[in-house]
C-alpha cells in the first residue's frame, strides 16, 4: 500500500478541499473565492483550492498530484451531487493509489447554486456543506469494495418492439434471455399497425421476421401469457418468480392450425377481439392473429363453456389431432436467476371517452386512432377499407390531434407520436377513400428524420390543416349542409374565426399513457416513476436507460412516449448496458454495510427482527449479533435501532453523521 493509502500515519489527517466553479453553474451564485478562503481556516485542511471544472482531466490531475506529493490524504470536492460524479472522483483517487473512500463530496450545485436566489445566502450555505464534509472525512477509514459474480442470463419484460429488439440483441451476443409477455402473443402495438411513418413501409413486413427470430432463437426462452410476480436479490444476482397463466393449450404440441377454433361450439365470435380493439369479435378459443408468436391457441376462461360450466361437447378437443387441449392446466410459477433485467412494458392509449365533449361512444362514427389503424390494415376487420358503421365510405373525415395530451385535465405532456401518425392516417384515409381530410392541431411537431418532409408531402396532397384545438363534436346542425353529419367546432386560430366543419367520420388521435398497474409493476422491480407514471431513468441525459436500481434497465415507451425508431434505439442501448454489466462478470458492492463492534453488543437481539435481508444472525455462545456483509444492503436501519451503539455502518457511522451535523450548523 502506498503512503497515501494509509491515512495520516502520524495520526494527523491532511485534508484537501477542491471547490468547483462548474463554469458559471456554481460560480454564478456562490462566491467560490470566499468558500476557499473559509476552507483554509478549517482544522486539518492542508490544501484548499478551486478550479473551473473539477471533473475534467486537469481537475482530477490537481487532486492526484496533491495526493502523490503527500500534501493531502483525504479529499473533499465541493461541486455537484454525489449521484452525479462521486464515482468519477473515486476512480481518480484510485488512479493515484489512494483509497477511494477517503473522499467526500459537498453538493453545492444541485443543493445550493441552482436553488438559491441570494448570492450571500448561497455562499454561506456552501460553506456549511464544505465544513460538514471536512468534519466528517476526518473519521473516514480506508475500505475495500467487495466483488460479487454476475449471473450472465438476462430477463426482458414486455414483448413489444422494444422488448423484442432488446432480447434479440442480448441473445445474438450469446446471452441466455428470458422474454416475458403478458399477452398471449408478442408484437405489442406495432403488430396492430398497417404502415409506419414516415416511410410508409409495412409494419408487419419489418416486425414479423423479428418475432419469428425470437421464437427460433436458441438463446431465448419465450414465456407469453405470463407475468413477473416477484423479484428478489440485487444487481447481478436477481431471483425472479414468473407466473405463467394457464392457456389450456399445450404449447409444445399446438401447431396453430385453427382446427380447434373452427370447431368451437360458438360458430362466430362472441367477445370483443382485443387485437382488433373491439372492431370485431372472437371466440372463447382463439389465436390473436395469423402471425401470432407463439402461433398457439389460447382459451379464454371467462367465456369458454367447458371451463365456466364444465358442460360442453368439447368439439375443439376432438378437432385437435395433437391432443394439445388441456382443460386441467393450472397456473404455474417459474423461478429463474438473472443478472440483469430490462423493462419494456410499453404503454396504453388514452381512453377517449374521458372527454365527453368529443362524443366518443355517443356517436357511432367517432373512432380512436388505434381503431382506424386496424381499419386501414389489410389484415384488419375491414380488410383495409375505411368504412362508416353503415358500411359506406366517408366523404369527409376530421382528425383531432392532442386527445388526452397537452391538457392539464388529462395528461399535461405531449405524446410525441400523434402528429406523425395523424399525418400517416390522413394520407392512408385519403388514399383509400378519396375523402376530404381535415387535421385539427395545436402545433405540428415533426422532429425526426424525414418527418418534416412527410408533413410537406401531406400539404401537397391537399390535406386540410386547421390550427386550432377542437372545442366540440356533435350532431347539432345549424344549416342544411350539416344535417346528418358530425359537426366539428373549432377556432381556426390562423384565420381568427370560429369554423364549423361537417364530416362523416372523426378520428381522435389519442395520446400515450402508462399502464394502470404501473405502480404494482414498479414495486416488483423497485424502480421509481415520474408523477405521470412513466418509469424514471437514472439521469435524463447521461443515464437514460438506467434506473436507480442497479441492474434494472429501461427500454421503449414505459419510460415515456416514443415512436418506433426511438424505442428500437433505446432497446439497443439498454441491451448494451446490460451486456456491460454481464460481461464484466462481477459487480462491486458499495462497502456501506453494517458491522457489529462485539465489545459493545449487549445481545438484546433488537436488530435481528429489523433486517429485511436476514443479514443479521445471533451467536448464542458469544451472545452477540453479527452481520453477513454479503447479504447486507446497507440501509442502516439496524444501526439506528441499536441501543448500545454496537452496530455501525461503514461510510455512515454515528460519529461521522454527528460530525456532519456539527459541521452544517456550527461552522462559524
Amino acid at each position: 500500500m502506498s503512503t497515501a493509502n494509509t491515512p495520516s500515519p502520524n495520526g494527523k489527517p491532511k485534508i484537501g478541499v477542491y471547490v468547483c466553479h462548474c463554469g458559471i453553474n456554481i460560480a454564478g451564485r456562490v462566491d467560490v473565492q470566499a468558500t476557499v478562503e473559509f476552507a483554509k481556516t478549517l482544522p486539518n485542511v492542508t490544501v484548499a483550492t478551486e478550479y473551473k471544472f473539477m471533473c475534467s482531466d486537469p481537475g482530477q490531475e490537481m487532486i492526484q498530484k496533491d495526493l502523490k506529493d503527500g500534501l493531502v490524504d483525504r479529499v473533499v470536492v465541493a461541486s455537484c451531487s454525489p449521484l452525479m460524479h462521486e464515482a468519477t472522483f473515486r476512480r481518480a483517487m484510485m488512479a493515484a493509489d489512494a483509497n477511494p473512500f477517503l473522499f467526500q463530496m459537498a453538493n453545492i450545485r444541485e443543493h445550493v447554486s441552482w436553488v438559491t436566489l441570494d448570492k450571500d445566502a448561497a455562499t454561506e450555505k456552501a460553506k456549511a456543506l464544505i465544513a460538514a464534509a471536512v468534519k466528517r472525512i476526518v473519521l473516514h477509514r480506508p475500505l475495500e469494495k467487495t466483488r460479487v459474480p454476475v449471473n450472465s442470463d438476462a430477463l426482458v419484460v414486455g414483448g413489444g418492439i422494444a422488448g423484442i429488439h432488446a432480447a434479440l440483441t442480448l441473445a445474438d451476443a450469446g446471452r441466455k434471455v428470458y422474454l416475458v409477455e403478458r399477452e398471449p402473443t408478442i408484437g405489442g402495438h406495432m403488430a396492430k399497425f398497417d404502415k409506419t411513418f414516415p416511410t410508409l413501409d409495412c409494419s408487419a413486413c419489418i416486425l414479423t421476421p423479428k418475432m419469428s427470430a425470437v421464437r427460433a432463437h436458441p438463446n431465448i426462452t419465450l414465456w407469453t401469457y405470463s407475468e413477473v410476480a416477484e423479484v428478489e436479490g440485487f444487481v447481478g444476482n436477481f431471483q425472479v418468480k414468473v407466473k405463467r397463466k394457464p392457456r389450456y393449450i399445450k404449447e409444445d404440441l399446438c401447431v396453430g392450425c385453427y382446427e380447434c377454433v373452427e370447431a368451437c361450439v360458438f360458430k362466430k365470435g362472441i367477445v370483443k377481439d382485443e387485437f382488433n380493439v373491439g372492431l370485431s369479435k372472437r371466440r372463447p378459443i382463439y389465436i390473436p392473429f395469423p402471425q401470432a408468436t407463439p402461433l398457439v391457441a389460447v382459451i379464454d376462461p371467462e367465456t369458454c363453456v367447458q371451463i365456466k360450466r364444465n358442460k360442453c361437447k368439447k368439439p375443439c378437443v376432438d378437432a385437435c389431432e395433437r391432443d394439445a387441449i388441456d382443460f386441467d392446466q393450472k397456473e404455474e410459477i417459474k423461478e429463474i436467476d438473472v443478472g440483469a433485467i430490462i423493462l419494456a412494458t410499453g404503454f396504453k392509449t388514452f381512453d377517449a371517452g374521458r372527454i365527453s365533449r368529443y362524443g366518443y361512444g355517443k356517436y357511432p362514427n367517432i373512432f380512436t386512432s388505434l381503431e382506424v389503424e386496424r381499419m386501414v390494415n389489410a389484415a384488419g376487420p375491414t380488410t383495409g377499407e375505411v368504412l362508416l358503421k353503415n358500411g359506406e365510405k366517408p366523404k369527409a373525415v376530421g382528425i383531432v390531434h392532442c386527445v388526452g395530451s397537452r391538457d392539464c385535465k388529462t395528461n399535461a405532456y405531449c405524446s410525441r407520436v400523434c402528429c406523425m401518425y395523424s399525418l400517416k392516417l390522413a394520407h392512408l384515409i385519403k388514399e383509400r377513400t378519396g375523402a376530404e381530410v381535415y387535421n385539427f392541431y395545436i402545433d405540428m411537431r415533426t422532429p425526426g428524420k424525414g418527418y418534416e418532409e412527410f408533413y410537406e408531402k401531406l400539404l401537397k396532397e391537399n390535406v386540410h390543416f386547421i390550427r386550432g384545438r377542437v372545442a366540440e363534436i356533435s350532431d347539432w346542425a345549424t344549416i342544411p349542409e350539416e344535417e346528418g353529419k358530425l359537426v366539428i367546432r373549432a377556432e381556426d386560430t390562423l384565420v381568427g374565426a370560429v369554423r364549423r366543419i361537417p364530416v362523416d367520420m372523426v378520428v381522435l388521435s389519442v395520446g400515450m399513457e402508462p399502464h394502470e398497474d404501473v405502480d404494482e409493476v414498479r414495486r416488483v422491480f423497485n424502480v421509481s416513476c415520474s408523477h405521470e407514471g412513466w418509469f424514471l431513468e437514472r439521469h435524463p441525459k447521461l443515464a437514460p436507460v438506467s434506473t436507480f436500481t442497479d441492474g434494472v434497465f429501461l427500454a421503449g415507451a414505459c419510460q415515456g412516449p416514443k415512436d418506433i425508431p426511438d424505442c428500437v434505439a433505446q432497446a439497443g442501448a439498454a441491451a448494451a448496458e446490460a451486456l456491460v454489466l454481464i460481461d464484466r462478470g462481477y459487480v462491486e458492492l458499495e462497502p456501506n454495510t453494517a458491522y457489529v463492534q462485539e465489545e459493545f453488543c449487549s445481545g438484546c437481539k433488537i436488530c435481528l427482527g429489523l433486517c429485511p435481508y436476514g443479514a443479521i444472525s445471533f451467536n448464542d455462545e458469544k451472545n452477540i449479533s453479527s452481520v453477513n456483509g454479503a447479504l447486507c444492503k446497507g440501509c442502516g436501519t439496524c444501526v439506528a435501532a441499536c441501543p448500545s451503539g454496537a452496530l455501525q455502518q461503514n461510510l455512515f457511522t454515528d460519529e461521522q453523521i454527528l460530525q456532519e451535523i456539527e459541521g452544517v450548523i456550527s461552522y462559524v
Binding site: 372545442a471 377556432e491 386560430t493 370560429v498
Partner: protein, 210 residues
C-alpha cells in the same frame, strides 16, 4: 378608416404596456395566464365569440403582448356572458372568465369602456342598487338602464313589461335588506382595494415583475 390606408397598423413596441399581463395575472389563480398556448379552445367553446371584435384567444395574446388600449376598449369583454365554457375546457386551466372580469374592471377604472354600450351601464346600475339596498329590483334596474342607453327602448319593452307586471313577475316595490348599515360598513372597508394589482402594487408586494 379609409380602405387605401389599410386596416392593419404596425404596432410599435414602445406603444405597448409590458406590465399589462402582470396586472391581469395578479388576480387569484391568474398566473396560469402565462401558460397559454393559443390553442383556441376558448374561442371554439364560446357561444358568443363570433360576435366579438377579438376572439377570447386573441384577447389573451394581446394581453401578453401588452395591447392595453385595444383590450380594454374592446367589446369582447362586455359581450362575455360569463358562461364559463372557456374556463372549464381550457387545457392550461386559464380562468378566462375571471380575466374578462378583470379587464372589465380595468376598463371601468380607466374609463375606456365603449360608451353608451349597455353592458357596462347595466353593471353600473346594478352595482349602485346593490350597494345601496343590498338587493337589486329588476324593474328599476331595467328602467334606469334604458333611460341611460336608449330611452326609446323603454317603449319597445313596454308590452313585455306590462305583461310581467300583470302576472306579478315585476313590481316597482324596492327590494331591500333590513340592516343596510351592516352591509355599508362591510363594503366600506373594500372601497380602496382592488383585486387586480397595478404594477406599483405588485412591485411593493415584492412580486417579480417582468
Amino acid at each position: 378608416m379609409n380602405k387605401w390606408q389599410g386596416w392593419r397598423k404596425i404596432r410599435y413596441e414602445s406603444d405597448l404596456d409590458p406590465h399589462f399581463v402582470d396586472e391581469i395575472a395578479s388576480i387569484p389563480g391568474g398566473e396560469t395566464l402565462y401558460s397559454c398556448i393559443q390553442c383556441g379552445t376558448c374561442s371554439g367553446m364560446c357561444p358568443i365569440s363570433p360576435y366579438m371584435d377579438y376572439t377570447p384567444r386573441q384577447i389573451i395574446a394581446m394581453i401578453r403582448a401588452g395591447f392595453r388600449g385595444e383590450v380594454l376598449s374592446s367589446y369582447t369583454t362586455w359581450l362575455c356572458a360569463s358562461c364559463y365554457s372557456c374556463t372549464v375546457e381550457c387545457p392550461k386551466d386559464i380562468k378566462l372568465t375571471d380575466i374578462m372580469y378583470a379587464t372589465k374592471r380595468l376598463a371601468i377604472r380607466g374609463k375606456v369602456y365603449p360608451k353608451r354600450f349597455p353592458t357596462p351601464v347595466l353593471a353600473g346600475e346594478f352595482f349602485k342598487a346593490v350597494e345601496k339596498y343590498g338587493r337589486s329590483t329588476e324593474s328599476w334596474l331595467l328602467v334606469n338602464l334604458f333611460m341611460k342607453t336608449n330611452p326609446f327602448k323603454v317603449f319597445r319593452q313596454m308590452g313585455l313589461g306590462l305583461r310581467l307586471f300583470s302576472q306579478g313577475r315585476l313590481s316597482l316595490k324596492r327590494e331591500s335588506i333590513k340592516r343596510r348599515g351592516e352591509l355599508k360598513s362591510i363594503l366600506k372597508v373594500l372601497e380602496k382595494e382592488h383585486m387586480v394589482k397595478s404594477k406599483d402594487e405588485l412591485v411593493s408586494a415584492g412580486k417579480e415583475v417582468a
